[in-house]
């Protein structure tokens, strides 16, 4: 009886180790892409990547972080391609020789969201900078991403346009993703800056905050794809990265992006060709 017990235990362990070994060993060509949380959290990549993976018989490994960190990963040569949204940082990234062949992929826009009661009267603001000025004047709680993401870059840009250095108890820099920022703003009845895609994904059942300001040119949010420079990092998979760049900027990828919707609303828009 006891011998039987121990034998079966050993068998179980042996099979376990065998399967574990196999699972860690398999190899397929992998393209590493660092991207922003908005592309992953919106669910777009789940429909955009599989057709490409089939075509190239490869896997795309998505590391989804803020735009700042996504570019940092590429500057260390740890990824092959980046898909981000912070035009100034992207241009700097290319100018410093880390990336090549930047292409426009898609766009959406930023919106200022807050409680429907709108204590800071953001709704009647003329510009985005004016909206932030009103929030600061009313000392209404504002949640800042504070993580050097593309959204955080845009927020800092808007504060400096407003001529304000935000500080004080009302300004909360949380160092977390867009989703966390929206959830915290919802709990605290606070304002925050969000990309429209993430807000749309949250507005059904997860947040009761409303869009209080949008539609300004300065809130335009373009996404770009950049291959990591193979001259700088010889180990990067440049050819595969360029195949990917051509795929998402080509008719098939652009079609998928344009057709992608959450609850009947488009999330990203493509540029007319």
């Amino acid at each position: 009886m006891r011998v039987g017990n121990i034998l079966s235990l050993k068998t179980v362990l042996a099979v376990f180790v065998l399967i574990v070994t196999c699972s860690l060993g398999f190899a397929q060509e992998r393209l590493r892409m660092s991207t922003t949380t908005s592309t992953e959290n919106s669910g777009l990549l789940n429909v955009l990547l599989p057709p490409f993976e089939k075509q190239c018989n490869c896997r795309v490994d998505v590391i989804s972080v803020g735009t700042g960190k996504a570019l940092k990963l590429a500057e260390a040569g740890d990824v092959d391609v980046v898909l981000v949204h912070a035009r100034k940082l992207e241009d700097l990234f290319v100018a410093e020789g880390f990336g090549v062949n930047r292409r426009d992929v898609m766009y959406n826009d930023f919106v200022i969201i807050g409680p429907t009661g709108d204590p800071a009267e953001v709704k009647s603001a003329k510009t985005a900078a004016d909206a932030l000025r009103r929030i600061a004047r009313a000392q209404a709680t504002f949640i800042s991403r504070g993580d050097e993401s593309g959204t955080h870059q845009k927020e800092k840009e808007l504060w400096s346009a407003a001529g304000i250095t935000p500080a004080g108890k009302w300004y909360r820099s949380i160092g977390q993703g867009m989703g966390e920022a929206i959830m915290m703003a919802t709990e605290e009845r606070a304002y925050t800056l969000s990309d429209r895609g993430t807000y749309n994904a949250f507005k059904h059942g997860k947040t009761d905050l409303a869009i209080l300001f949008n539609g300004e040119k300065g809130l335009f949010n373009p996404y770009g794809v950049i291959a990591v420079n193979p001259k700088r990092f010889p180990h990067v998979k440049y050819d595969l990265a360029m195949k990917f760049v051509n795929y998402i900027t080509g008719p098939e990828g652009q079609g998928i992006i344009a057709r992608y919707q959450i609850s009947g609303e488009p999330v990203f828009f493509v540029y007319p060709k």
């Binding site: 006891r2 574990v20 699972s23 959290n41 994904a201 180990h235």
Partner: protein
């Protein structure tokens, strides 16, 4: 109330619908944890026995250091391993960052102090007369140490269980050096962090329930090893 209700319901439906992504995450969690604890045991058990049996200067200091290492934050270990395996780091040319292998390195580092310490405590509470007795009976040093180890096997399995608990539940290393890549380096804990960031709290808790169930099953196996080793 409905939050917990929904979590439980989601957990069951995920299990019974055999959701592929969830299974992949469970699989990554378990396989990476087992590899880590395997390596950690290879290092930690002999180290624990050595420190426990040995008489040397600075033994006390070493024990204080080991105790402090048990409290090492997972993100610190994550940063260390990140620095090692990033392309800019000393092991950069191996291309290990954002692979399960890098996670194994980090989690093994987390588990070594725990396995060492638990083994050490087991050895220290053992009856030391085993060593001189076996030696006078004509055993070699290695044989007498093996006998001592056999005496404390219950404690050693406890060391493995504790180390396993540490690595299967951690999120810092897995997130930093694994990168939370879907179907590849996404573990149960990083998946929970992701769902939380998406505001899918009930779904995240459902994944937590599944992770706890898996840990429970594995601990049944480990505990039965512990029991079957007892005379």
């Amino acid at each position: 109330m409905s939050f917990f209700h929904e979590s439980l319901r989601t957990a069951f439906s995920l299990i019974f619908s055999a959701n592929r992504e969830v299974f992949a995450a469970v699989w990554t969690s378990v396989s990476v944890a087992l590899w880590s604890i395997g390596f950690a045991s290879l290092v930690g058990i002999p180290a624990g026995i050595g420190i426990g049996v040995g008489q040397f200067r600075l033994k006390r200091a070493l024990m204080v250091i080991l105790n402090s290492l048990m409290a090492m934050p997972t993100v610190v270990v994550g940063l260390l391993v990140y620095g090692l395996v990033s392309r800019q780091g000393p092991m950069g040319s191996w291309g290990l960052l954002f692979t399960p292998k890098a996670m194994v390195i980090g989690q093994a580092l987390l588990a070594v102090p725990i396995v060492t310490n638990y083994t050490l405590s087991a050895i220290r509470s053992a009856d030391f007369r085993v060593v001189p007795t076996t030696l006078t009976l004509g055993a070699s040093t290695v044989q007498s140490l093996a006998q001592l180890t056999r005496e404390v096997r219950f404690g050693i399995v406890a060391a493995i269980i504790a180390g396993f608990g540490r690595v299967i539940s951690e999120v810092g290393v897995a997130m930093m050096v694994g990168g939370n890549i879907r179907g590849y380096t996404r573990t149960m804990t990083t998946a929970i962090a992701l769902e939380t960031s998406k505001g899918e709290f009930a779904f995240g808790l459902a994944l937590g329930i599944i992770l706890m169930s898996v840990s429970f099953l594995i601990n049944i196996v480990l505990t039965s090893m512990q029991e079957s080793g007892r005379v």
